[in-house]
Symmetry: C2
Subunit: 242 residues, 2 copies
């Protein structure tokens, strides 16, 4: 099938409270990339200051033993994807990120590299949102207007990163995260949404998906009650459409 | 000028913690609509269950002495706007609301009625977002894709309803509201954003704007430090472009 070579590491959040950038998932990143990958292509489009963002990411990946090129430093972003050994799409604003992927003509090329060539893809937060079928369940503010909410479609479902349980002590009247996802599922033909709590990651290898990290996930399916899932659980059934 | 007849009551939130639907702003609504208005046209598009939503709104407005028609019960929504004495656009999901306004061809007609005819407009939460120049600063999840993020443009700036100060005790790593608005202002040519806390309202009469309610507001202008504003303060300078 299309996704048989696919390898994805989809992280909920780049920084865990009290930790440093990517510290909570650095062992997973190393295990995922392994010894064979030497250089990683970074996509910093989700933040405004791409130079500063690339510096932060580069320092971290170099400390893990990987070289890093940032796509914004390339005169030909499509070619940079074509030649990449592995791709890391960082977090920030999902709308800004997705619009830049479209504006630079990268949607088709990244899909091809990941699904056909098996190029490893790491996404964090917004980088996880754009890896899924659409960005309909991002938490971000729509600060720019992308040409579509359809995303890379590396998996056939949605993820809600930074998933947050209701705060029973809050006096704020905005919708809870669960209410927002429920509103999404009021729309026809909407796919499952995996709520990845901060500290959680999803590892996708071909047609297998495994929940990693320590905080678990909550799964929302249209017309069904949500279900709780523990680290180590398999989500391969969510990949069946792809 | 275009906005000289305009009369808007833009409410941050429909329900305040511990209160009932519209209770915290009912005196403002009565003062705004006055004795002359007999019936209000309700726009329930922001919630999925329009019948239930219209029932809630109708009960509240009837208790205040106003009849209410819901636009979703009309076979001709444009005509319903054309004949309306006053318009109330309720909260819910901003993307769903804006898409339905476009799908029903209502953007031009509501603009015309409010800006040219002086038809009173009340918006709450999502209904406040769509009253502004665009929905770029909504808090809602993009569960559907409207044809544009441009909105009714009844005022030439943005509002962030349910504005929330940073929670210093939170361990959640998602962006604070202020960080999100700052990201918006990293984009070129972005207008001011008025952060309306829950319990706040903005009254717009022609070229005058006044902050009402009890909780105040925080104003964000591109390239400037944010400023705090108290109930009773005038925001007329924000209307100068219209
Ligand atoms: Ca984000
Ligand atoms: Ca809302």
């Amino acid at each position: 099938t299309m996704g048989s070579r696919r390898r994805l590491l989809l992280v909920s959040n780049s920084t865990l409270h009290g930790g440093t950038y990517l510290a909570h998932c650095q062992d997973h990143i190393r295990a995922f990339l392994g010894e064979q990958v030497k250089r990683v292509l970074f996509v910093p489009y989700a933040l405004h200051n791409r130079d500063a963002y690339a510096k932060t990411a580069r320092e971290k990946f170099e400390s893990l033993g990987y070289g890093m090129d940032s796509i914004h430093e390339s005169s030909n972003p499509v070619e940079a994807v074509r030649k990449s050994e592995a791709i890391f799409v960082g977090g920030g604003n999902t709308f800004r990120l997705l619009k830049a992927l479209y504006d630079n003509g990268l949607i088709t090329e990244i899909r091809k590299r990941v699904l056909e060539d098996g190029t490893p893809y790491i996404g964090s937060s917004a980088g996880t949102n754009v890896a899924t079928i659409s960005v309909n369940t991002t938490n971000d503010m729509p600060i720019v207007y992308p040409p579509s909410l359809s995303a890379l479609g590396l998996v056939p479902f949605n993820i809600n990163p930074h998933f947050l349980d209701p705060d029973v002590n809050s006096k704020h009247m905005g919708e809870t995260r669960e209410q927002r996802i429920t509103q999404y599922h009021e729309e026809l033909d909407t796919p499952p949404v995996l709520g990845l709590r901060e500290g959680s990651l999803l590892l996708v290898e071909g047609d297998k998906a495994t929940l990693l990290g320590v905080t678990g996930a909550r799964l929302f399916m249209r017309g069904k009650a949500p279900t709780e899932h523990m680290p180590g659980e398999k989500f391969s059934f969510l990949l069946m459409d792809s």
